[in-house]
């Protein structure tokens, strides 16, 4: 596969050799070697947490060279980047996932922020800034005055400004991390055309994306990462969706997941026409036209990539974020006012959020206070908390869920992640629930606690609760759920039962590849 192509020189200009990066001893990258050739687009794909972004942060100097093992070679020279500035000086420009632009500055100011050209006496040479901005805007195909304030531009145009800003450093290598995440389909199309043009101009690109359709369209080579390791790299001619997905998913042990025999009962939760408006872009919908049902004794898996709107969907039906007009949520046929968690909880819904530190527990409170937080009225008579009862309830849960803690008075932040998660679960189990929503319930939890959480889920559906589960860990989701709904681009892309489910089908729907490819 090394024979010369029409482009002639296929020598790598950039090489990563045996890179290993650990966070607190946990490897995020294991012995990864990768190269980039002049004038190519090299796509990196993998599940969430596979190590793509970590790898690119090493390349861009965000992780200084003493924090990882392995070597970075650029044009035949070993590089030791100590800061993003070092990487920029060497010609590597990173365009970040979240736009790091200032909305109230002009295009030109954004492009040259921090390195505005200066003349005598240290004053900014605006004439030079504007003219150079104009040239860069032409290069990224943006027909706007450099004096336009950024806020007036569309997401796609802002993305182009970000790229122009990167090009202003006169790099030879561009790194794009999910550049289309905030763009609509047509905007993403235009961005990809532009990337192909830049490639024609001789820039080499690393391109990270979750969307396989984009990767298929523009990549010269595709590398799949999984669990911090490189699984495969294939040339354009060898690329196949089936193979990429297979490599992304891999095969894992099945014994972790306990089986169960529960026949789903009648519908307990019905969501109709749910939509969620975008929080900052007016008129844009994060989610629209979502309708789904959940039965008693059923675990419904909500799949999709990070950013597909899974958490927003459950938060909207729980009343934690504002749902759009026309949204209807029913519990056992009775409508639930979807504008406050208080109402949803009263109707029998519970939500375990994905980030327990941010909005799962209260760090200033102890275990018992965290457990009883959603059930204060159940342990109080006329507003007065029965503290003996509170303690008894908490002790009962500590035993039942085997929460490893010195006692109910121990601070919740003294617990391990798994035990914190079990405490949060106890908070909801204390209530008479009909529907429990679990958003990434096993994230940051040790294996033992994971298995325990799976058993607990089975026990709960056995008691005819309905569960909605969100997980980025495919094997977990596939093993635990009876039915699946896959979200992508703000809509339901696919819906199927356990019998019809496969990792491939799920990935296919989540990455939105046409089924005929």
């Amino acid at each position: 596969m090394t024979n010369a192509t029409s482009k002639g020189n296929r020598e790598p200009i950039l090489e990563l050799q045996n890179v290993t990066k650990r966070f607190f001893g946990v490897p995020a990258l294991r012995d990864v070697s990768l190269d980039l050739r002049a004038g190519e687009i090299h796509a990196l794909v993998g599940e969430n947490g596979a190590g793509k972004s970590t790898l690119m942060k090493i390349l861009s100097g965000s992780y200084p060279c003493h924090e990882y093992e392995g070597e970075v070679w650029l044009n035949g020279q070993a590089q030791r980047f100590r800061s993003p500035g070092d990487a920029e000086a060497a010609g590597i420009a990173m365009i970040y996932q979240e736009l790091s632009l200032h909305l109230d500055l002009t295009i030109g100011e954004n492009i040259f922020l921090g390195r505005l050209p200066t003349g005598r006496a240290g004053l900014v040479n605006w004439a030079s800034a504007w003219s150079r901005s104009r040239a860069l805007l032409e290069e990224v195909g943006l027909d706007e005055s450099p004096r336009t304030v950024l806020r007036q531009l569309s997401a796609n145009q802002q993305q182009r400004v970000a790229i122009a800003k990167a090009l202003a450093q006169e790099p030879c290598i561009l790194i794009l991390d999910e550049p289309t995440a905030a763009l609509s389909v047509t905007e993403a199309d235009r961005l990809m055309e532009m990337l192909l043009e830049l490639k024609g101009d001789g820039y080499a690109c690393f391109y990270i994306s979750h969307r396989l359709d984009e990767v298929l369209r523009i990549a010269d080579r595709v590398t799949v990462l999984r669990d911090g390791m490189k699984v495969s790299t294939c040339e354009r001619a060898e690329i196949s969706v089936a193979r990429i997905i297979e490599d992304m998913v891999g095969r894992r042990i099945e014994a972790m997941y306990p089986g169960r025999t529960v026949t789903p009962g009648p519908v307990v939760l019905r969501v109709e026409n749910l939509s969620v408006p975008h929080p900052s872009i007016p008129g844009k919908q994060l989610l629209e036209g979502i309708s789904l049902e959940l039965r008693r004794g059923e675990i419904l898996g909500l799949a999709g990539l990070v950013g597909a709107g899974r958490s927003e969907l459950v938060k909207a039906l729980f009343g934690a974020i504002k749902a759009g007009g026309g949204t209807r949520v029913e519990i056992e046929g009775r409508p639930v006012a979807s504008d406050s968690p208080h109402e949803a909880i009263a109707a029998g819904i519970g939500l375990v959020t994905e980030d327990r530190k941010k909005d799962g527990f209260i760090a200033t409170m102890d275990i018992k206070q965290n457990i009883t937080l959603a059930s204060l009225s159940l342990i109080a008579t006329r507003g007065r908390i029965d503290r003996a009862r509170e303690r008894a309830v908490a002790e009962d849960f500590i035993n039942r869920l085997s929460i490893r803690a010195p006692g109910p008075d121990a601070s919740i932040i003294s617990l391990s992640g798994g035990n914190q998660q079990k405490t949060i679960l106890a908070k909801w189990l204390m209530r008479p629930l009909k529907v429990l929503i679990l958003d990434e319930p096993t994230r940051g939890v040790d294996v033992g606690a994971k298995v325990q959480i799976y058993h607990l889920m089975n026990e709960l559906v056995g008691r005819s609760l309905g569960i909605i589960m969100i997980s980025s860990e495919l094997p977990e989701l596939l093993a635990m759920c009876d039915r699946f709904v896959v979200l992508g681009r703000g809509r339901i892309q696919d819906e199927f039962t356990r019998a019809e489910a496969s990792a491939e089908r799920l990935m296919r729907a989540a990455t939105i590849v046409n089924t005929d490819q």
């Binding site: 729980f318 934690a320 406050s340 968690p341 208080h342 909880i345 009263a346 939500l351 959020t353 941010k358 909005d359 799962g360 527990f361 209260i362 760090a363 200033t364 409170m365 206070q369 937080l373 959603a374 204060l376 009225s377 109080a380 507003g383 007065r384 908390i385 503290r387 002790e395 035993n399 010195p406 006692g407 601070s411 932040i413 908070k427």
Partner: protein, 327 residues
Amino acid sequence: MSGTGKSKPISPFRPSVKRIFLAREMGVTIPLLFLVLLIGLRNPAFFSLDNLINVLRSTSFTFIVGIGMTMLLVSAGLDLSIGSVFALGGCAAGYALTRGFPIPLAIVFGLLVGFMVGFVNGGIVVWVKIPTFITTLGMLYMARGLVLVTTGGVPIYPLPAGFRALGQEGVAGLPYIIWIALALGVAADFVLRQTTYGRAVYAIGGNEETARLSGIRVSRVKLSLYMITSVLATLAGTLQSARLGSAQPNMGQGFELEVIAAVIIGGTSLFGGAGTIGGTFLGALFLTVLKNGMSMVHIRPDWQQIIIGAIIIIAAGVDQWRRRLHR
């Protein structure tokens, strides 16, 4: 009941001793005793019954408003407007009295004004979502302006003797004001520590989003806290007018800072989620003893200010140090 709950034999002694020493109020108690001793040695007149009652009476004003401020700070809120609202309450009651309102009705009128100011403060914070610091800072100016506009800047007097008695007389050897502060303190302590409402206040201060997602009606609770604080400020202002025998338009200037200082010295966390009424009582007492005592040992007022300022910083430092210790 198989005994699994008692499987870990923890020494019953250690945690309780630790609890006493780590209790947030302890931060003030020892310096307070030390201070009292120091002042008493330099000037035994400090221990005279008159002076002690005087100290307690002054403490009561700070403490009454401090009750509301404690609850607000525990919920990670703040109210900077109370100094003006204090004057507004006193003048509203005074105004009603000069218009011939019966005494109880005049007092209720003053409290009603506080109720409304609190509703506006809380409403702006909760619904318009303007930061509490800005909202109550604005109200600090507006309420003072309102006092000056309605009184024309002139003190309201004379006030009826029955009203003055409220501030100047007492029962069982102690002024009414001290009894009122005591009753409010006991009630607030009960509410904060034993009721679901109090638990909600701590939860909101600890993590507002978690509290909301656990079904606590955050907006309602926050709104009510601003109203409680304002009502307490107008009550204290009314009592002050009764004590002085006239409603002064300029009273309570800088009072908000004194109250906040007392609450923080009393161990309430600046970051929300922790604090007690008992601590605030000790904080208010400490501040009053300090001021009273410094005058009694003839420290010049300008130096008093420097010392008070330093103590506030030290108290906040102790709070942060304690947080680090717990983590």
